[in-house]
């Protein structure tokens, strides 16, 4: 379009045009588009040109001010965007632009009522908000150097009292709030950290003690197992244990490190051997204590360590040495705890613990821990034995009931089958099922097979929101209930697949239309092979007759009456023909058959023609009636005629406008200016045409009303 040519021109300097003209062209194109932003290529081009020389800056100021004076908000808006781009970049531009700042404000903010912003209004609003944003920004950036900007900003803010977006202050406030929040959390964390420092040693000892006990339990179990002779790589294990026992008296850290190594090894070995420890009479006490310890571990120690960790990770400290050491310790303890727990799980101790404390992993404060995947499979074994047994009993009871009544509902069928698997032999059950009718579920099933009556009104609610007397003795008799619960079913046609026409198409493939008898494109539907060739079975007669016979009853019902007639007619004829054919074979049969078919076709054709004639006549009648009604309605409303005329005028008008619009489409800016039909306009138009029909309806109702009043003078 123009843009490309302009860009090209701007690119080639040796065009004979001056810079100023080039710049003018580019700015004109850039500000003359219906888009909400300036084209990036054009913007870059303008920036490059303006940057080129001071002369160009001067030219740009003049040109942009000129564009800003255009009586179109869109042009002004785009100019404003350009001005901002240049204003923030070039000092000379600012120096030249600032003396005209008042004019600029007048044209872009439009703070004076006698210099209102030009249409279109949506762009004008955009222009105003944007320019205010820019003025604020400029005031922040350059207000100190340019008094005019400061003055303008202050005037708009303090005297005109425009609401500036106040971006800087907002950002500052948000920043301050955030820092305040951070500070508060840090304070809290510091407090927690202090407390942690105080009680860390004690708690650590506690935790380690628990772990030690558990480890001892594990070793006892190991020992048992070894005695049983299942595994015998024990040297490592015993060494570790030895180590541990040796150094028990030493300081905590060292001991705990060894201990960590040992337990990790133990874990590794436990993974290695697949055989599970079995709880027996002998080691029941060990298992019990282990269970206790595990409970303590998951309920107390693991959450504790996790909390410590989150505190240590989030707290912000100047001196990091002690903090780092502590963090390391905590991580190690945590790993140990998890490994111990894993070992317990491997011993089959998990379910009980998890049931007691399923929320062990919940209080993690949004920090990822690599625990995962325990809860799902741990719940399943617990669930099965508890839930199945009562269900089964229940189902059994229900099944008995249903057998007594000799009927089964859809709903209970499933559970019944489940339960009767055990009660009845398979074949007998299958037979019964085949016999049983299917019923859809309904409220009638509540009172299924009830002998006694039902109390009539126990709640005292007579009608809606009206209370009456309660008589507990009144019963609704059973036969009455049965009458009330009379079920009604609706006929549902059996769905049968309709054959496709499958006549070969000219472009290849087969016709996929599915019609009952006749494809509107390919005529009668006949059986065809996979290529679409009609299959001529041994006798045309047999085929047709069988087809006519095979028309299912429901199809016959839905088919049109004439079709029905014709088919039945054909039926008769064909039956006759059939008999002949049985007697004398040969050509006579064929001739007769043909004759019959032509007869049928002719009859059908005449029927069709008659129908068309009738339909046409009815349509004419209807048109006439409508015209008469319309005329009557028009006569009643005084504006009727005008409306008609107006409508005509308007429609022609709109045609013209459409023509114009197509002319103006390329402009873009003018289309912005044109008033778009609002929803209100459209509704009004609709109502105006609707008024004619409304008048008729009103007249009719009025007549009806008057007759009604005459016949029932006392009522409304």
């Amino acid at each position: 379009m123009a843009k490309e040519s302009v860009l090209r021109n701007a690119g080639e300097e040796a065009q004979g045009k001056t810079d100023r003209q080039n710049l003018g062209d580019v700015i004109h194109v850039a500000t003359n588009s219906p888009h909400i932003a300036i084209d990036v290529a054009l913007l870059r081009c303008i920036k490059n040109m303006v940057r080129g020389s001071d002369e160009n800056v001067r030219a740009a100021v003049d040109l942009l001010m000129d564009r800003l004076k255009k009586n179109h908000a869109q042009v002004r808006y785009l100019s404003l965007l350009l001005i901002d781009e240049l204003f923030t970049r070039s000092k000379l531009f600012r120096a030249l632009f600032v003396p005209m700042f008042e004019t600029f404000l007048l044209l872009s903010v439009g703070y004076r009522s006698d210099y209102a912003l030009p249409p279109p209004s949506d762009r004008a609003a955009l222009l105003r908000s944007k320019s205010m944003e820019f003025v604020e920004k400029w005031n922040d950036m350059f207000g100190q150097h340019y008094r005019q900007i400061r003055l303008g900003y202050e005037y708009l803010k303090n005297t005109v009292r425009l609401q500036f977006p106040n971006l800087r202050e907002d950002a500052a406030r948000a920043e301050q709030q955030r820092s305040e929040r951070d500070r508060r959390t840090q304070e809290l964390l510091q407090k927690k950290y202090k407390r942690l420092q105080e009680e860390f040693a004690e708690k650590k000892k506690d935790t380690l003690f628990t772990l030690l006990e558990m480890e001892e339990c594990f070793t006892i179990l190991e020992a048992d197992q070894r005695e049983a002779g299942v595994i015998d790589h024990l040297d490592v294990r015993s060494m570790a244990h030895q180590h541990q026992e040796d150094e028990e008296g030493e300081d905590g850290e060292d001991q705990y490190e060894r201990y960590g190594a040992a337990s990790l090894r133990a874990m590794h070995e436990a993974q290695g051997d697949k055989v599970l420890h079995q709880e027996t009479q002998d080691n029941a006490a060990v298992f019990d204590s282990l269970r206790e310890l595990l409970k303590l571990l998951t309920n107390k120690h693991i959450p504790n360590t996790q909390e410590w960790m989150s505190i240590l990770m989030r707290v912000d400290l100047q001196e990091g040495k002690f903090h780092d050491a502590m963090l390391k310790e905590v991580i190690d303890i945590r790993n140990q705890l998890f490994s111990a727990r894993n070992q317990c799980e491997r011993l089959g101790l998990k379910c009980a613990i998890l049931e007691e404390n399923p929320t062990g992993e919940d209080n993690m404060d949004g920090i990822e821990w690599e625990v995962g995947g325990v809860s799902n499979d741990s719940f399943e074994p617990c669930y099965q034995p508890i839930s199945t047994s009562p269900e089964e009993q229940e189902a059994g009871v229900m099944a008995e009931g249903s057998h007594k009544s000799g009927d089964a509902t859809n709903n209970t069928l499933f559970s019944m089958r489940k339960s009767t698997d055990s009660l009845l032999p398979d074949t007998a059950r299958q037979g019964l099922l085949n016999e049983a009718p299917m019923l859809t579920w309904g409220s009638f099933l509540d009172n299924w097979g009830k002998e006694s009556g039902i109390p009539a009104n126990t709640r005292g609610l007579l009608l809606e929101s009206h209370w009456g007397q309660v008589d507990p003795d009144v019963l609704i008799p059973a036969d009455k209930i049965a009458e009330i619960n009379m079920r009604s079913t609706y006929y549902q046609p059996q769905s049968s697949d309709i054959r496709a026409c499958s006549a070969p198409l000219r472009k290849g493939g087969l016709c996929q239309r599915k019609d009952l008898h006749t494809c509107p494109l390919h005529g009668r539907i006949i059986p065809r092979d996979s290529l679409g060739k009609p299959i001529h079975s041994d006798s045309q007669l047999g085929e047709t007759s069988s087809r006519v016979d095979s028309v299912p009853s429901d199809r016959r019902v839905t088919s049109t009456k004439s079709m029905h007639e014709s088919t039945s007619d054909a039926d008769d004829q064909l039956k006759g023909a059939d008999m002949h054919a049985l007697e004398s074979k040969g050509q006579i049969v064929g001739a007769l058959l043909k004759q019959a078919i032509t007869n049928v076709r002719v009859k059908a054709e005449t029927n069709r023609k008659m129908k068309i004639v009738l339909r046409n006549k009815r349509r004419k009648d209807r048109e006439h009636n409508e015209a008469v009604l319309r005329a009557a309605a028009m006569g009643q409303t005084s504006q009727g005629l005008q409306e008609i005329l107006g409508e005509n005028v308007e429609s022609s008008d709109s045609h013209e406008r459409r023509g114009k619009a197509s002319h103006n489409r390329n402009g873009g800016l003018t289309s912005l200016l044109r008033k778009k039909p609002t929803v209100k306009d459209r509704l009004a138009k609709r109502l105006l045409t609707g008024r004619v029909t409304d008048a008729t309806v009103a007249q009719l109702t009025r007549d009806e009303e008057s007759s009604y009043r005459q016949s029932f003078p006392n009522q409304w």
Partner: protein, 445 residues
């Protein structure tokens, strides 16, 4: 500049000429002052500004919210080192909350011509009040029959202390500060009086401009007005005789006059007054008194403007009178002959419902006319537009030229008092490095 200084050193030009040239150049290069700001203490439009005659230091401002403030134009109250801006805040403020403060808009303020211990304010609440500027107390007050539009005191008076007040009323009242009573009532106008000016040459001559468009000259020692200016009685430009006189005076006594210290001023006033009064004023009055009574009637209906006269301003030497009217015209009158000099000042837009203040540079070369939101600087004798000062965002009401600093102060309805100064700053010479840092080209691409 440097060349002239050297010439003066060498004695090839006279010192006064150097001063005159400097003043001339400076007053012709006015622009919005970058490093001097007056922080307006007013919450509404500024109606009246005056720099005191004694020291040329204190600026008195009256505003539409009834507040009056005094600013120091020399000494900044606050200096912002980062932006190098000197801020002049109000030294003292009187507003509605002050005891006996004006209730409605202050339309006009005036320093006591001898010193800065007193000032006079006239307000739309019908009072003219005389304030002690140190105690900020009302010393005297006069109740007027209507809104007060203008107050004026004679700068050259030595025999009286009269305040002339222009009000809604058709009569001009003269209030005597010494006795606290009305001494005169001058009736002759057919409508309210928006503009008043004492003659700069005679302490007895008062010029008033009314809403009916008439400008009347009064000799307060006599009954009735002795001259009504008629816009159709014209002469072309300066009279040849006075032109040379003016030129001389601009070069010597006038330029000197305002560069001189305060003590010397009284004597120069005295000299001028005696000279003018004896030689010029006398025959004029005598001539008028011999006129046929019918002529005075004919004179009585003459108009100077086709609308209200919004402002009057005599030149410092008292020979000429500027007037502006709602017909958006500025006229220069020869006070001697009472003729319109027919100098065509360009298009102005004078609007508003009250008086304006014109101002002109003391060397008599530039006239500043508030015109809508801008101030136009006209060359006095050619009427050419010299400069347009843009900066206000609303109607400009008044402007006042500082005779020593060549600065212009202007007050407007946008509540600001702007300082227009020659570039380069007046007192502070600042290191330009700081400014350049933030304000420079920033081409990112």
């Amino acid at each position: 500049m440097w060349r002239e200084l050297r010439q003066r050193e060498a004695g090839s030009i006279r010192p006064s000429l150097l001063a005159k040239h400097a003043c001339y150049r400076r007053s012709r290069s006015l622009q919005l002052a970058k490093r001097k700001e007056i922080v307006s203490a007013h919450k509404s439009g500024v109606n009246s500004l005056q720099i005191d005659a004694a020291e040329s230091r204190y600026l008195l401002a009256g505003a539409s919210d009834g507040s009056i403030a005094i600013y120091d134009t020399q000494q900044a109250t606050h200096f912002d080192p980062s932006s190098q801006i000197a801020k002049h805040e109000a030294l003292s403020t009187i507003d509605r909350r002050t005891n006996e403060g004006h209730e409605y808009a202050v339309s006009s303020v005036h320093w006591y011509p001898i010193d800065t211990g007193l000032f006079v304010s006239g307000s739309f609440d019908r009072y003219v009040k005389i304030w002690d500027s140190n105690l900020l107390q009302v010393e005297l007050q006069f109740k007027m029959p209507g809104k007060v539009y203008a107050v004026a005191m004679s700068a050259v008076a030595s025999a009286h202390m009269l305040i002339a007040t222009g009000t809604e009323d058709v009569r001009v009242h003269l209030c005597d500060m010494a006795s606290g009573a009305f001494t005169h009532t001058l009736s002759g106008h057919r409508d309210g009086v928006w503009a008043l000016q004492w003659s700069a040459s005679s302490e007895w001559v008062l010029v008033t401009g009314g809403c009916e468009g008439a400008i009347r000259f009064w000799d307060i020692r006599r009954a009735g007005c002795f001259l009504v200016l008629d816009q159709h009685r014209t002469q072309i430009g300066q009279r040849s005789k006075s032109a040379s006189f003016i030129h001389d005076q601009a070069g010597t006594s006038n330029g000197m006059n305002h560069m001189e210290t305060n003590s010397e001023r009284g004597s120069s006033f005295l000299r001028k007054r005696t000279a003018h009064h004896t030689s010029i004023r006398r025959p004029e009055a005598a001539k008028l008194s011999r006129q046929h009574p019918g002529l005075t009637v004919a004179q009585g209906v003459a108009t100077a403007h086709y609308g209200s006269v919004t402002s009057l301003q005599t030149t410092y030497d008292g020979f000429y009178l500027f007037s502006a009217g709602l017909d958006s015209r500025v006229r220069l009158w020869d006070m001697e002959s009472g003729c319109n000099t027919l100098i065509n000042y360009g298009t102005t837009r004078i609007a508003g419902k009250k008086g304006l203040q014109l101002s002109f540079s003391p060397d008599g070369s530039l006239l500043f006319v508030p015109s809508d939101t801008i101030i136009q600087a006209y060359d006095v004798w050619t009427g050419n537009l010299h400069a347009t000062l843009k900066g206000h965002y609303d109607l400009v009401n008044c402007c006042s030229f500082h005779p020593l600093d060549q600065e212009l102060y202007s007050g407007s309805n946008d509540r600001q008092i702007l300082v227009w100064a020659p570039p380069g700053g007046t007192s502070e010479d600042l290191d330009p490095q700081t400014q350049v840092q933030a304000d420079e080209d920033n081409w990112s691409d």
